[in-house]
């Protein structure tokens, strides 16, 4: 990890996360719960987030299948750009934990972090290239005003160089963070590293 970026309460440091209600004890979890934890995330069995969601294993199984297919599948929009969409949506929704994780992933994939600093400072003007600015603007618009998204918004993405597969991947990445943010933000809280 490169430099630490902190702005407006957001950070790219590694944070913890604590659930506000009771989590499932992995020692007494059912075989189905263990199987879903294992297919959800490599660290799921020691994560409060997954141990809370595993109260309803079939819902978590489907959520993880959607999330992993959207964020990690090969082809289509470069994964760094999916992470940029995720970071912008998290910044707009105010999910400090999600923003920290996906800012780090963006930087690992893109080998740069200038746009992350801009997104933390002011997402409405963020983007170091026309393509990044188009991705950022669309991610804000679909987050804040989904009912108003129109053909013109898609045309703006195409004008910035995105093809149909890229546009679909961006819609998916932005939409899945409408989902992810509402779990991380509303079921527990980030734990910050000791100063």
């Amino acid at each position: 990890m490169s430099r630490v970026i902190k702005s407006n309460g957001f950070t790219n440091e590694t944070l913890g996360w604590d659930a506000w209600l009771d989590v499932v004890d992995v020692e007494t979890a059912s075989p189905e719960q263990i199987a879903v934890l294992e297919e959800s995330h490599p660290q799921a069995k020691v994560s409060d987030y997954y141990l809370f969601l595993i109260h309803q294993p079939e819902i978590l199984r489907q959520r993880s299948a959607a999330f992993n297919a959207i964020m990690y599948a090969p082809g289509g929009m470069p994964r760094a750009e999916r992470e940029l969409g995720a970071t912008v949506v998290s910044r707009i929704n105010g999910c400090v934990y999600c923003a920290s994780v996906h800012a780090q992933r963006y930087t690992q994939l893109a080998k740069q972090d200038e746009v992350i600093e801009q997104v933390f400072q002011d997402p409405h003007t963020a983007g170091t290239t026309p393509r990044e600015r188009a991705i950022t603007k669309f991610s804000i618009d679909i987050t804040e005003r989904p009912a108003e998204i129109s053909a013109m918004d898609i045309q703006a993405l195409k004008d910035a160089g995105l093809n149909d597969a890229d546009v679909l991947d961006l819609v998916h990445s932005d939409a899945i963070f409408a989902w992810a943010n509402r779990l991380m933000l509303n079921l527990g809280e980030p734990v910050f590293p000791a100063e």
Binding site: N93, A175, W179
Partner: protein, 177 residues
């Protein structure tokens, strides 16, 4: 009405395609189904969240949350769909009216009032959904697995509405050229 949570995905019965009006052969349909796993998990999430046998929140409670969320976002397509599903599930007309036009404070039970108030907060201002907001649910008698179902449901609806909106716009552009 989905009645089972099977893992088999049938593209011919895809809800998002039906709501957006995507059919095989159109560019937007073909683009969407290149990401087959996403389409399958989206439909699978819907089928799971609205399965009649899902323990905890009743199907009618889940559909009331869905209609209320669709009204607030707003999404005409999704509101129409969930209104239809509520009628098919035999929901009382007064409850459908409540989520379609009324306020959570007018709900007939404190449980439904708490569920709808939490829904509104997460749909409109998720950043305000803090520990105190979450604690209103156990206080209204919801078990922890019910809280998980409700939260996943609201979060899924936030995803579904944006997916439908994005695909609708892609289709509109495709048809304009």
């Amino acid at each position: 009405m989905p009645t089972q949570t099977s893992n088999t995905y049938d593209p011919a019965n895809d809800l998002v395609d039906r709501l957006v009006g995507l059919t095989p052969g159109s560019k937007t349909y073909e683009t969407r189904h290149q990401r087959a796993k996403v389409a399958a998990a989206t439909q699978g999430s819907y089928d799971t969240l609205f399965a009649s046998e899902l323990p905890g929140l009743t199907l009618i409670e889940r559909l009331l949350v869905a209609l209320y969320a669709s009204r607030l976002t707003p999404s005409a397509e999704l509101a129409a769909h969930y209104r239809e599903q509520l009628a098919a599930a035999g929901a009382e007309l007064s409850l459908i009216e409540l989520v379609d036009h009324g306020e959570p404070s007018n709900a007939p039970t404190s449980r439904l009032a708490a569920v709808l108030t939490f829904t509104r907060k997460l749909i409109e201002k998720p950043v305000e959904g803090d520990r105190a907001a979450l604690s209103t649910l156990p206080q209204a008698g919801l078990t922890t697995p019910e809280v998980v179902t409700l939260s996943q449901l609201i979060a899924f609806l936030s995803y579904q509405v944006r997916l439908v909106a994005g695909l609708k716009a892609m289709k509109a552009l495709e048809e304009s050229v």
